[in-house]
Subunit: 301 residues, 2 copies
C-alpha cells in the first residue's frame, strides 16, 4: 500500500464535509477523495438494510479510486453499517462512533455523557454500546435531533429558528433550568451538528464539553496512519507541489495542492457546491456528478 | 379498463397521504394502492434526471399492481417528471401542478398568486408556467420553504418553531407588515404543507385563499373518472363489502372496505406507519415494505 495514495471519505451528502475539514486541518499533507451520496440522502431516517446497501456501494466506489484508508464520515452509516463496509473493502476503515465515544469518555471523565444524533443512529444504540464498552459505569443520555440537519443545510444555523429548536431539544441540559438533565460532555453525533456548534453551546451553557465526532475521527486517522506507516511524508508533497507548481510562490503551490482533492456526488452537484461553501468556506474545485444505476424492478421482500 | 380497479398513488414518502386523504374523502367508493418511496425520500432537493428515474420506477411498480388511473401525489415528481411518467405507463396520469394551478387561478380570480413548494419544484418553474398558461396576466410569487417538510414529519406542525419558520418564510404575505407582498391566493405546492395549514393561515392572515394541491387533484380525478366512465358505482362497493362482511353491521362493513386500500413503502415501514398516523389520524392496515435493487456499480456520467 503506497503512503502516497489519497484517503477516501464518504458521507450521505454534505455533512461529511465537516469531517473532511477536520481531516484536512489535522493532516494537511494528505490528499482526499470524497463521495457524497446526495441522490439518496438522508440516511438518518432509513432502515438498517437500506443504509447497509447504500454504504457498501459507496465504499466500493471509493475503494475503486485507489485509496489507502476509508473514513465513513457519516454517523448513521457508521452506526448501522460498519461491519458490512469492513467486509466489502480491503482497506482499513474508520467510522465515527468509536472515536467519538472514546473522546466523550475522556471529556466526561467517564461520568455522564449526552449523545445527539439522527433518529437511526440513536435507535441503533451504537454510541451507548461503544461508550459502555470503554466505561461500563458511564451514564448515557441519547437524543435524536432531526431538525438540526435541514437547519444546517439551509444556512439557518445561527437563526432564531435554530435557537428555538435547540432550546426544544437541549434546553434541559442547561444547568439551573426545570427538569435539568446533568451531563458532563455532549457528543455531536451527526456530521451536520458542528455547523450548529455556537447555538448548541449557547443553549447548554459553558459547563458541558462538546465532542465533535469528526475531529475525534481525524485524530484516530492520524494515529492509524502513523502506526501503519501510511502517513505521507511532508517532503513527498512538496515534491509533488513543486512538480505541479514549477517556480511559483508557495502560497500558489499550496493552492494547487488543494486542487488535488477530488469530490464526487451522486446527484445535484450545484446544490452540493452551494451548501459546501457554507460548510467549508469555499466550494470544492474538482467536483463531479456520478450515477448509481438502479434496476428497473421493485421486489417484494 | 375495469371501473372496479383501484386508483394508484405514489409519492416520495408520507406527504402524499394528504392527497390520499383528499381522494378518499371525495371518492369514498374508490379503492387505492399507495407507494411511498421512503428509501429515496426526499425528492425536493434532487435533480431532474434523478427525480425522473425514481418517478418512472414508482409509476411502473404501481401500474403492475393493476390500477385504472395513476395519481402522482408528489409536487416535485409532478413538476419534474410528468412527461416521463406518461411515456412509461399506459393508464391516465394526473399530477399535482395543473389542478393546483387551475384552482389557484380560480381562487385568486386571476390576480396575484403565491406558490410555496420544495426547492426543486420552485426551480422547475412548473407552477408559474401552468398558471400563466391559464391566465397570462397573473402575477406569480414563488418561494421554496424547505423546513416545512421536516416540521410536518416530526409532528411539530403546531409548535413555536413552526410559527417562527412560517414567519420567516411567509411573514411578508401578511397585509400591513413591512415589505408586504400582496397575494390573493397561496398554493400549498408540496403535499406536506396542508399539515401546517393552521400555522400558515395564522401567519398570512385571513385575506389570502389557501389552495391545497391535493384537494385540487382529487377534484380533477373525480372529473376524469366521470368523463371516462371509470368511476366505481356505489352498488359494486356494497356488493364487495357484503361479500366480505357477510351479515355484519354497516359500520363494520365500511371498516372492512377501508382495509382494501394497500400501502407500500420502499423502506422503514415502521416510521411510515408512525408518521402516517399523524397525517391520517390512523395507521394504514395493509402496509408492506418493498425493495428497489440498485446495481452494484456507480457510473461516471
Amino acid at each position: 500500500m503506497s503512503r502516497n495514495l489519497p484517503i477516501g471519505i464518504f458521507d450521505s451528502g454534505v455533512g461529511g464535509l465537516t469531517v473532511y475539514r477536520a481531516l484536512h486541518e489535522r493532516l494537511p499533507e494528505e490528499r482526499f477523495v470524497y463521495l457524497g451520496d446526495t441522490a439518496r440522502v438522508p440516511y438518518g431516517t432509513k432502515s438498517l438494510a437500506t443504509v447497509e446497501r447504500y454504504a457498501v456501494e459507496n465504499a466500493r466506489f471509493i475503494e475503486a479510486h485507489g485509496v489507502k484508508l476509508l473514513v465513513v464520515a457519516c454517523n448513521t452509516a457508521s452506526a448501522l453499517a460498519l461491519p458490512a463496509i469492513r467486509r466489502s473493502v480491503s482497506v482499513p476503515v474508520i467510522g465515527m462512533i468509536e472515536p467519538g465515544a472514546r473522546a466523550a469518555v475522556r471529556a466526561a471523565m467517564g461520568k455522564s455523557i449526552g449523545v445527539i444524533a439522527t433518529e437511526s443512529t440513536i435507535r441503533s444504540g451504537a454510541y451507548r454500546r461503544a461508550i459502555r464498552e470503554l466505561e461500563p459505569e458511564a451514564n448515557v443520555v441519547e437524543r435524536a435531533c432531526p431538525l438540526f440537519v435541514p437547519l444546517a443545510e439551509e444556512g439557518w444555523a445561527e437563526s432564531d429558528v435554530a435557537r428555538t429548536v435547540a432550546a426544544e431539544y437541549l434546553g434541559d441540559f442547561r444547568p439551573g433550568g426545570a427538569g435539568h438533565v446533568g451531563i458532563d460532555a455532549l457528543v455531536l453525533g451527526c456530521t451536520h451538528y458542528p455547523i450548529l456548534r455556537r447555538v448548541i453551546r449557547e443553549t447548554i451553557g459553558d459547563g458541558v464539553r462538546l465532542v465533535d465526532s469528526g475531529e475525534a475521527a481525524a485524530e484516530a486517522v492520524e494515529s492509524l496512519l502513523a502506526s501503519e506507516g501510511l502517513a505521507r511524508p511532508r517532503a513527498d508533497v512538496d515534491d509533488l507541489c513543486d512538480a505541479r507548481a514549477g517556480d511559483e510562490a508557495s502560497a500558489r503551490r499550496r493552492e494547487l495542492c488543494d486542487d488535488l482533492d477530488r469530490f464526487y456526488v451522486t446527484d445535484a452537484a450545484e446544490r452540493f457546491a452551494r451548501v459546501a461553501e457554507r460548510f467549508l468556506g469555499f466550494a470544492p474545485r474538482m467536483l463531479e456528478a456520478v450515477e448509481i444505476w438502479g434496476r428497473d424492478e421493485l421486489h417484494t421482500r
